[in-house]
Structures are given as structure tokens and as C-alpha cells.
């Protein structure tokens, strides 16, 4: 497992080359991405913006190894990931990527601490270390006093912090955030973005997918998509 900021300076954390993605809708094939290339370096805070239907979510799914491209190449930490098996992709998602979603996507039946421990369980980390690292991650996002709470007992901002702790706990090199402030009020959203900036400062790459121009402006660099192409 890679330690924070361990990727060599000349290898981009994310490298997307001429990637296309088509969906089949009955007889027709609908292109969602029509040849997109981009790269993100370690410690970068990158925004992918664009209106709905521009393909930004599809791009995030591909970078997050939740889906595979129709054509083109995709490298994470220099490793080719297009065309890997489901089992292998699961390992990459677990080790290299942390996800943050608009609706937080915490598991409702278990406590905040157990939620944060879950990725480590899939990473086959021992129970004791799981707990230590999860507590550490929750402390990092300022939720040390909410370990035993259920997600439903937390505010929106706290839930998103818990989700960020869960994304950080496996020490991934890439954090993918899909509209992370979309369900939060402006002030709380700012605080979450501030947290992302701090995470970047530690050498991690954060890619935020958003349609909110203000969020885009906050990030260091913006990639704007329209109709499946980088504008």
C-alpha cells in the first residue's frame, strides 16, 4: 500500500488518454465521452466541471474504476487499469481511491467508526489496526467525539466529514469527490472544500466533479467538459 505522497514526481496520479465511453440504449449507442485526455499530479486539487449530460460523472466513474472505458487508456499511479477484471478493479478501488459522494453514502445500520473501518476490512487489515486507523482518520476530520453515533444522528456536514474520513482511511493517492457540497449549505460546503485543500497539501490528489462554478473556482485547476469532450 502506498504511503501519502509516495508516487514518483514524474508519474501522474491520474493519466487519461483518448478515453471514450459509449452506452447501449436498445439499438442505439449513445456516446458519453468522445475522446477525453487529462492528467492530475500528486497534491493537485482539480475540478471537473460541466453541465449535466456533459460526461463528467462518466469520467469520474472511469477514473474511479467503477466502470471500464470503451476505448482509450487509463493509468492510476502509472498502472494501466482499463480492461482489468472485476476482482482486480476492486483491489485498486480499495487501495488507490477514496470516494466522496453528494449524498454521503454512509451505511445507515452501522456506526460512524464502523463505516470508516469498512474499507480496511475489504483491504484485509487486522481488526486492531482497522480501529486505530479509523479513529485516526476521524480525528483528522474532527469527528473524534462521534465514533459511536449512527450516520442519521449526524448533521450533513458531519456526515460528509465521516465520508471523507472513510475515503482517507486506506491512505489512497486519489480522492474522487462527486458534488461533495451539493447537499450542504454554503458555509458547510466551504468548510468541506477547505478540508480538501488541506488534504491536497499533504500530497494527495483530489478531483472534484461539480456543476457549481463557485466550487470550480475554489480549485486550483479546472477541466470543463461539454458533450463528452474537454472544452
Amino acid at each position: 500500500m502506498s504511503a501519502p505522497g509516495s508516487s514518483p514526481g514524474d508519474t501522474p496520479v491520474v493519466l487519461v488518454q483518448e478515453v471514450t465511453k459509449e452506452y447501449r440504449m436498445g439499438q442505439e449507442t449513445v456516446p458519453a465521452l468522445r475522446g477525453v485526455s487529462l492528467q492530475a499530479e500528486a497534491g493537485e486539487l482539480l475540478a471537473i466541471t460541466g453541465p449535466s449530460g456533459s460526461g463528467k460523472s462518466t469520467l469520474m466513474h472511469l477514473m474511479g474504476c467503477l466502470d471500464t472505458p470503451t476505448s482509450g487508456q487509463l493509468f492510476l499511479d502509472g498502472e494501466e487499469v482499463a480492461g482489468l477484471s472485476e476482482e482486480r478493479l476492486a483491489v485498486i478501488r480499495n487501495r488507490k481511491i477514496g470516494f466522496v459522494f453528494q449524498q454521503f453514502n454512509l451505511l445507515a445500520r452501522i456506526t460512524v467508526l464502523e463505516n470508516v473501518m469498512t474499507p480496511l476490512m475489504y483491504g484485509r487489515v487486522g481488526p486492531r489496526e482497522r480501529r486505530e486507523r479509523a479513529e485516526e482518520a476521524l480525528e483528522r476530520v474532527g469527528l473524534s467525539d462521534r465514533l459511536r453515533h449512527r450516520p442519521t444522528e449526524l448533521s450533513g456536514g458531519q456526515r460528509q466529514r465521516a465520508a471523507i474520513a472513510r475515503a482517507l482511511v486506506t491512505r489512497p493517492s486519489l480522492i474522487l469527490a462527486d458534488e461533495p457540497t451539493g447537499a450542504l449549505d454554503t458555509e458547510t460546503g466551504r468548510a468541506i472544500l477547505g478540508l480538501f485543500a488541506a488534504i491536497c497539501a499533504e500530497g494527495k490528489t483530489v478531483i472534484v466533479v461539480t456543476h457549481d462554478p463557485q466550487v470550480g473556482e475554489f480549485c486550483g485547476r479546472r477541466v470543463h467538459l461539454r458533450d463528452g469532450l474537454v472544452e
Binding site: E86, R95, N105, G123
Partner: protein, 398 residues
């Protein structure tokens, strides 16, 4: 991850208690039947063996058939008993038996519904029945048609609470008329068997019975003791042949021995077992389908959760493991409830039937194996379906 899976499963059940309970009924009944079958089967076998051992494996009884014609019935004479003894090898002792219930009285002490048996001197030898006081009826009592009686233990203590029965007189009432009999012996206690209630009986000479209590046209039954070491089933077969030759009709008499009864009982138990095995198999099948159904519902409802877990790095294998563990945990919970139910039922049944309660460790192992097998078999498809879900589609499920 195994323990986490079990913990997650239990948490799911806790959140859906009613649904979990209902989906488990089939398994509970199925496993309950498995336990009941094996426990009752064992208990039945054990108690039959015990009864047979008590009754002495060596006795055989012959009755005239219910539908036997009068001419045939007349063949059942006292003399025939002697012929049986001399003509059928393996028979050691024979006695004709007459039996009816009477009201017995001594002074103010009474015993209602005593079995009064008219038998010959050979009777105690056939049943290994021992005297406590005095002696059993003699051949002379029989020849001279003496009015003497030997009392079973319970009858003796009811009529003679002070224990001074010997040489006293007991009245046997028939249609309101008392007949007086002198007590010549009291027997030791003996557990009843094969329709014979020794302790609640009184014994008088067979000829006296016919002369003083009830005029007998024919012998109601013969009791025979077989020679030590003889194969009772074979001797019973010979007795059967003897009577077939005598009456020319196999339906005009019945031959019974503890061995044949045990055999009959084993057959009944086998049939019962077959039936209960069928019930168990069907319940487990139905229960398994119930489990599959509830697991499919669970997978559908938790599509989003599966998507989240996949995003966090759960492999298809891990997801399959989670849902398979959930199915097996579910059936094991059902299995445990079934084991409790089956144990309780068979305990009650054995208590009612006065059988010995003999739960078998092996049957509980079988129950655990059955419930796990059902969980694995019927959980496999829903689990595979969960594992196959596409992460993107699962995540976008609302």
C-alpha cells in the same frame, strides 16, 4: 471478514424481525421434524427393547381368530395345549389362559376390576414370575378344581393392607354373587407387559375358572414359554404351522410373541420415520425457497448498499461471501429454533407415551448440517446476483 459478515447479518435480522421470523418458519418446521424423527425413533426402539426384555423374549401367545367359526373354536381345548408342548419342538411350557375382570372383596377392602386369570401351574415359569409368599397354583389344585387363588402384588396389598393374606378368603363377585376363594400365594411385583397387568391380577386354576366363574366353550388363549436358546421367531413359525394344519385356515387364529410385536413396532416406527422424513424434506425445500425469496428481496433492497461497498473496494467474492453468510446465518438461526422445537415436542411425546427420552448428539449434528446446506444451496443464487451487480448501476439505485 467472516465475523463481520455474521455481525452484519444479525444486524439485518434485527432490523427486519417479523420478516426474518416468517421466512424462517419452513426451516424451523423442517429441522424440528428432523430432530423429532431421530429422537422419537431412538426412544421408540429403546423402549420396545426394554419392554421386550422385561416380557421375556421367550413367550408366545395364540388366540382363536376373531372370525373363527364355532367348530374351529371348539378345537381350542385344554388338551391341545399338551399336544402343542409335545409336538412343537422348542416349546418348554404351555398353559391355557382364561381372563376377565371381576370385583374382589375381603372384609371391607375391595379391588375393582381385577383381572382374574384362569391358568395352570406352568404359568409363572412362562413369564419368570415369582412368588413372594406361599406358592403358585399346583397341578393338584387344577385337577381337583380347588377354589384357591394367588394374588398379584397390588391386589394383595389392596385387599390385605396388613399383609396377612395367606389362608384368608377372598370373594370374587360375578353378577352380584360372591364366590369364595382361599389365598394360597402372593406374587412379587412385576412390571406389566404385552397386555398383562401382573400386579393387578388374581390367578385361579383354569378348570376352577371354567367351573365356578364362567363356563368356557373353548380356550381363549394359550401362553407358551420357549426353551432357553430357541429362536422365538422360528418357534412362533412352527406354532403357526401347527395351527394351520389343525384348523386348515391361517385366519382362524393369531400367533403373537414379543418378537413379532417388536417387529411390528419397528415397522410402524419405520413408516412413521418415512412420513416424518417426507415432512422434513418438504419443509426444508419450502423453507429453502422462502430463504431464497427473502434473500432476493434483501439483495434488491440493498442494491445501493452493495454499490457503496463495491466503491469501497468490496470484490464480487466479498459481496457473495456477505450474502451467503447471511443466508446460512439465517438458516442456522432457524435450525436452532427448530432444534428447540423438535426437542420440546419429542420430550412431550416421550413423556406422554412413557418412553425413555433419548436425544441423539448425531441428530443435532445432522440438523446443523441440514440447515447450513439449505442456506448454502438457496443462498447461492441471490448472493451471486448481488456479486454480479455493476458498481455504477448499484450506486445510482435509489
Amino acid at each position: 471478514m467472516f465475523w463481520e459478515n455474521i455481525r452484519m447479518a444479525l444486524r439485518e435480522f434485527g432490523a427486519n424481525r417479523l420478516r426474518t421470523f416468517l421466512s424462517l418458519l419452513g426451516i424451523v418446521i423442517g429441522i424440528g421434524s428432523v430432530i423429532a424423527i431421530t429422537t422419537l425413533g431412538q426412544s421408540a426402539t429403546a423402549s420396545v427393547q426394554k419392554q421386550v426384555a422385561q416380557g421375556g423374549l421367550e413367550t408366545i401367545m395364540v388366540f382363536p381368530g376373531r372370525d373363527a367359526a364355532k367348530e374351529v373354536r371348539r378345537l381350542f381345548t385344554v388338551g391341545l395345549g399338551e399336544r402343542l408342548k409335545s409336538e412343537v419342538p422348542g416349546i418348554r411350557e404351555v398353559t391355557p389362559v382364561a381372563q376377565a375382570n371381576y370385583y374382589l372383596k375381603h372384609g371391607r377392602d375391595t379391588y375393582e376390576n381385577a383381572s382374574v386369570l384362569g391358568v395352570q401351574a406352568s404359568f409363572p415359569g412362562i413369564y419368570s414370575y415369582q412368588s413372594a409368599e406361599g406358592s403358585f397354583l399346583s397341578a393338584e389344585d387344577e385337577q381337583k378344581r380347588r377354589s384357591v387363588v394367588v394374588l398379584g402384588a397390588e391386589v394383595a396389598s389392596a385387599l390385605f393392607p396388613a399383609g396377612d393374606a395367606l389362608d384368608q378368603y377372598v370373594r370374587i363377585y360375578r353378577k352380584g354373587v360372591a364366590r369364595s376363594f382361599k389365598v394360597v400365594g402372593v406374587m412379587k411385583e412385576k412390571t406389566g407387559t404385552m397386555g398383562m397387568d401382573f400386579d393387578g391380577s388374581a390367578f385361579i386354576p383354569f378348570e376352577t375358572y371354567s367351573a365356578r366363574l364362567e363356563r368356557l366353550e373353548n380356550v381363549q388363549r394359550y401362553a407358551m414359554g420357549t426353551a432357553t436358546g430357541a429362536d422365538v421367531l422360528k418357534v412362533a413359525e412352527k406354532v403357526n404351522e401347527f395351527f394351520t394344519r389343525l384348523t386348515g385356515n391361517e385366519d382362524s387364529f393369531r400367533v403373537m410373541s414379543p418378537s413379532t410385536i417388536a417387529e411390528m413396532f419397528t415397522n410402524v416406527t419405520k413408516t412413521l420415520n418415512l412420513f416424518l422424513t417426507g415432512v422434513a424434506a418438504i419443509s426444508l425445500l419450502v423453507g429453502g425457497i422462502g430463504i431464497m425469496n427473502i434473500m432476493l428481496v434483501s439483495v434488491a433492497e440493498r442494491t445501493k448498499e452493495i454499490g457503496i461497498r463495491k466503491a469501497l473496494g468490496a470484490s464480487p467474492k466479498a459481496i457473495r461471501g456477505q450474502f451467503l453468510t447471511e443466508a446460512v446465518t439465517l438458516t442456522l438461526v432457524g435450525g436452532l429454533a427448530g432444534m428447540a422445537l423438535g426437542t420440546a415436542l419429542s420430550f412431550l411425546a416421550t413423556a406422554l407415551l412413557k418412553w425413555s427420552f433419548a436425544p441423539q448428539a448425531a441428530s443435532y449434528a445432522l440438523a446443523v448440517a441440514c440447515s447450513s446446506a439449505v442456506g448454502i444451496f438457496f443462498g447461492l443464487y441471490p448472493a451471486a446476483r448481488a456479486a454480479r451487480l455493476q458498481p455504477v448501476e448499484a450506486l445510482s439505485f435509489e
